[in-house]
Symmetry: C2
Amino acid sequence: MVRFFVAPEDLEREKVSLVGENAQHAKVLRLKPGETVLLCDGEGREAVCEVESTDGWLLHSMKRRESQSEAAIKVSVYMALPKADKLEHVIQKATELGAYEIVTFPSARCVSRPDEKSLKKKLERWEKIAASAAEQSGRGRIPKVLVLGSFSEALTRAAQADKALMFYEHEEALTLKMALSSGSYTTVSLLTGPEGGLEEAEVTQAREAGLQVCTLGKRILRCETAPLCALSAVMYDAGEF
Amino acid sequence: MVRFFVAPEDLEREKVSLVGENAQHAKVLRLKPGETVLLCDGEGREAVCEVESTDGWLLHSMKRRESQSEAAIKVSVYMALPKADKLEHVIQKATELGAYEIVTFPSARCVSRPDEKSLKKKLERWEKIAASAAEQSGRGRIPKVLVLGSFSEALTRAAQADKALMFYEHEEALTLKMALSSGSYTTVSLLTGPEGGLEEAEVTQAREAGLQVCTLGKRILRCETAPLCALSAVMYDAGEF
């Protein structure tokens, strides 16, 4: 079913007109009266609607419901700010894979250190990538993209999940499977380092903050591969596929 | 430990000189006599060597062994030929994630239809990407990249694995977890479609060839995301991390 992201208040109306990009999109798709479409508020609620008129793209709402395509667990991807367009890649893919949110933050070996102004611009771009990937993958929720100011802030926030996990290439004993199998979970944080990896002091700091430090196996993954590998495995473990 | 890929026969010698790119690399790394390095044959065997002399980069072999970083299971990634550089992306990432081989082939909705000459050039490039990713991720084996001539050839080959799986977005009943949990496995084939997806007739053909058709969850994954998600999950299931 074709889906349009609209403001949450539009979802409560009996009749809604599509405007702007949504109207453009409806025109391109040549929607006809009587066709069924989905309005999503981007926060996990949706309304099944019927096209009433193509003049002004008027829809009437038939049924409101929770999104059918969101994961039952909430997985937050915490990725230390990488260089170039790697975070864009991770935002797009993590959205497809069902991440609840994507959080970036500085760490000791981050090379990229954008100032506030350029960060604001980047954030706008990241949010657009998340929205577009959410639409393409049929999600009912657009994952939030958050930028935190410090590594310790990231740890404190990540530690609040049922499973708060950091991945470190020098960890060999604790596998992700071991970490996930001890007790049930509905919220998960997955924290990974930048290109140069995490420093040992950061790993110690993470443990002290309450994160479990795990391995992703015997091969060294690139910084943009690690979070997506971990996210795929967690979704699998949780029974999503 | 620093690793160099060499010809399999070099691994059998008592003394080996690094040449070409390997010698360049050794120079950049400023290796010193007495340092320990790893020679890999790219097929899963390796030799721990000591630098004897930096003049001609002479090494002497101390111990031959099986590679320590290869997965215990052999996962073959079968991906219908996508557009542009998507296969390059999948080859790089699948190599990091431990794939045994990457196989591409035409399917009904493939847009990319390179002729034999351009395919030969592409294959050379793909092999280089696999070799470079194997080196970076610390693998002892360079995954083979294979180009098959037809969809049915891909099915016949894929079907020989203990678990021969195709992923299809309209499948809802059989999850990857269900497919993997019925009986043990050491070889796995993961087959995915191109941008436009697989045709229903192809799915039927795959079932007839002996593949199980599975879902990767409620969200629609891009053609380059699906194989890597499935590969991550299989490696996780098999106890790799």
